[in-house]
């Protein structure tokens, strides 16, 4: 605690709110330029790193082989991919700058202790676009904390930033709650990198509606958007739809928070999905799962009690990556319905109707096989094979929130804009400003790209400001 008092009362060059990838990149850049830097991480040490803990790769532009990346992934293709997922909801200049800068980030990451590994089993399709971290995001976070520590950066854990003290166009201090005591920590420049608000269920419920209370949060419970809200209340400019979050369909038995990657469920394309009323509601075979899991987050969110059940038979149990939760199994459909607490007759009728509409043809689990139902609404347009071979298996599905889109508006130097124009000494990076570039949808590994690029810029700019 003496350490806390001493650190809190020092005069810092730069204080950083947040302790994830973007915050750490900023801290390292600033400390390498001679600045005296303090990181305020809201989580306790085992949970440090925000959502970066759960990440696994970094999307990166490159020409020719770079680190673990093969061939070429150029700006045009990268930007096209971004346009496709965001449907144009992006700031082109900012996005292109981010994409271009990503190339020099990968060697920088390696130089600061991040290790990469070849694409993980089952993700070979990404070996050209995404560089995977050895050990995942927590290993990256550990490497950055060590690099920062070696540069003299100090860290306070369980330090919750409550308020940014601003006078005119300058921030003067942060109000920080540490161990139940609120302290003012002063600095000459500030980097805000404390994430979105998806950990605050009440806020989600206000924005999205009461049904959000049934959502699961895939990442850290510590991203409650306190700093974001405080800045918006003080008139900082915002970007991103304040009502929207990115949600995917995950196993309904996942922990309320922090379930991360293992809660994903890949069986939907080979299944029939029903809601609480044992009714189908969407084409399960519309496309391959990586292109559909986000849509299913919203689809399930729209169902009664925000839950659905994916049902397969014995022939499909070995077709997808293992789920961490064992399936609910039964010898007959009514028995399965009883275990799931679904109306048995209705479920039997739904499955029977589906089975009757399946047509003969070749089933190819690894590609769009065109094996579609006939005369069924909604249709299943691929992998439509009768659910008929016992045992039958079911997995429950719920929406799992990954991040929120609302953020601080920044310019290409990561500077935050206030009511009277850009602040003189406030920068932002990471999920907290990602809505500028990612206004809708998601592109795997791009959150880490935004965090790294803008985190580094914020650190460089803040260091230049205090130099």
């Amino acid at each position: 605690m003496n350490d806390v008092v001493a650190l809190a009362s020092e005069d810092w060059d730069i204080v950083i709110a947040g302790g994830g990838n973007a915050a750490l990149c900023a801290a390292i850049e600033a400390a390498e330029r001679g600045a005296k830097v303090l990181i305020l991480e809201g989580a306790p040490k085992p949970y440090r790193g925000g959502n970066s803990r759960h990440t696994r790769n970094f999307r990166c532009m490159h020409h020719g082989d770079l680190g673990p990346l093969v061939e070429t992934y150029d700006e045009a293709e990268f930007f096209d991919d971004l346009l496709r997922v965001t449907k144009g909801e992006t700031d082109e200049a900012l996005a292109r700058m981010c994409i271009r800068t990503s190339e020099e980030c990968l060697p920088w990451m390696q130089a600061h202790g991040v290790r990469f590994q070849p694409s993980l089993a089952g993700t070979l399709s990404l070996d050209r676009t995404n560089a995977f971290f050895l050990g995942g995001g927590k290993a990256l976070v550990n490497a950055y904390y060590l690099a920062a520590q070696d540069l003299g950066v100090r860290v306070l854990y369980e330090a919750q930033v409550k308020h940014v003290g601003i006078e005119g166009a300058r921030a003067t201090h942060l109000e920080v709650e540490i161990g139940g005591i609120t302290r003012n920590i002063h600095a000459r420049a500030f980097v805000l990198a404390s994430g979105g608000f998806q950990g605050d269920i009440d806020w989600l419920a206000r924005a999205w509606g009461e049904s959000a209370r049934n959502f699961l949060i895939r990442g850290t419970p510590y991203n409650r958007g306190v700093v974001l809200k405080d800045m918006l209340d003080q008139g900082a400019h915002s970007v991103g739809d304040p009502t929207q979050c990115h949600a995917v369909a995950i196993d309904g038995r996942a922990p309320k928070y922090d379930g991360g990657i293992v809660t994903r469920l890949d069986c939907v394309p080979f299944s029939v999905v029903v809601n609480r009323n044992a009714e189908r509601f969407y084409d399960e075979g519309e496309d391959v799962w990586p292109k559909r899991y986000a849509i299913w987050g919203r689809l399930v969110a729209a169902q009664p009690e925000q839950v659905a059940y994916s049902i397969i038979d014995a022939r499909s149990i070995d077709l997808f990556m293992p789920s961490v939760y064992p399936p609910i199994s039964a010898g007959t459909i009514p028995e399965l319905a009883a275990k799931l607490d679904l109306p048995a007759e209705k479920l039997q009728a739904t499955i029977a109707e589906f089975n009757a509409s399946c047509r003969p043809g070749d089933f190819h689990p690894q590609q769009l096989d065109g094996l579609a139902t006939e005369g069924l609404t909604p249709a299943k347009t691929n992998w439509a094979r009768p659910i008929e071979e016992a045992p039958f298996y079911a997995y429950s599905l719920r929406p799992g929130v990954t991040f929120t889109y609302l953020g601080l508006k920044v310019n290409d130097r990561a500077r935050v804009t206030g009511p009277e124009g850009p602040y003189e000494n406030v920068w932002s990076a990471g999920e907290m400003m990602a809505g500028s570039i990612l206004g809708q949808g998601y592109l795997a590994g791009f959150g880490m790209t935004i965090g790294t690029v803008f985190g580094r810029i914020a650190g460089q700019e803040a260091a230049a400001h205090v130099a």
């Binding site: 089993a121 050895l134 050990g135 927590k138 904390y145 060590l146 991360g260 990657i261 293992v262």
Partner: protein, 367 residues
Amino acid sequence: MSLDVTLQTDPGAISSDPVEEARRQIEICNACRYCEGFCSVFPAITRQKVFTDGDITQLANLCHNCRGCYYACQYTAPHEFDLNLPAALASARAESWERFAWPGGLADVFQRKGTALAAALVVGCAMMFMAVAALPGEGEGFYAYLGHTAMVLIFLPAFLLPLAAIVVGLRRYWAETGGTTVTMADLHDAAKSAATLKNLDGGQGQGCNFEVEERFSDERRMAHQAVMWGFLMCFASTASATILHYVFATPAPYGFFSVPKLLGVPGGILLTLGCAGLLVLKGKADPALGTPKRASGEWAFVWLLGFVALSGLLLYALRESVLTGPLLALHLGSVLTFFLLTPYSKMAHGFYRFAALVREAQDRRAS
């Protein structure tokens, strides 16, 4: 297409049974796969979707306790999944050695109780003191204290009986893990991995996280290499002396520039330093990531091995002095204890680890 999903566990159901608990954690790892690049365990996990008891035994014995996965893991406590794969696999591993040991029960005692190991050492040394005192010497050097015939009569069974017990244990291991006929290629792969301690290099040569938490260090690999190569050199030294004795009719003592001494002296130094290094590193490492309930037996074993090496070196350094007799009894007593306890102490890990590497080579080739 059939998959026995009844083998799957609930990820939230923490078990006190070592195999069940290892299975629970391995299933979570298989759904995550972020650690694939650290060692052989994770690629082996991804080859399967459900895990039999034999699979768990194999994965547990393949793990070298480098701890890279623990420090990189997003699901360690206080997360409700409470992953600690190094400890879970260590627990299943130690339990498997106790299960395979023949005769049963002995490994339970000597793996868990350092005091039992120390007591065995005292008894072993006392017996050798008595042997030196009671039996006639015959010839030069150490043989003046204890004759060659007596040494052979004591150490031949003390070497062969434990070896027979190890063979029984390894056969049980092979049956449980579904091993097939061993080929030269399997042995080659396993020997290469063992010789370089590939599974302690962190996957990219940066080393492991044994004693420095999130940082990487190669010190444990270096210390273990010193122990392993030092031990093998000492063993080769004894073997070469046996050959000199029987084939070339050249009995001990040997001068410094002889094969037994040129192997034995550096080997003994390496083994002593390596054991000292392992003890220092073990003191720094977090015991919560090690083998639950076996710490005292593990500490005692490294001390015993170090004592074997150090007493051997001292015996050579202080030869033809008043201390030769007592030192000979201490050294031979520690060697006797070490040999007899090989199937029931941490020493067994060398055999099972090698078997796991052979098994892994087979599995990798079959996939």
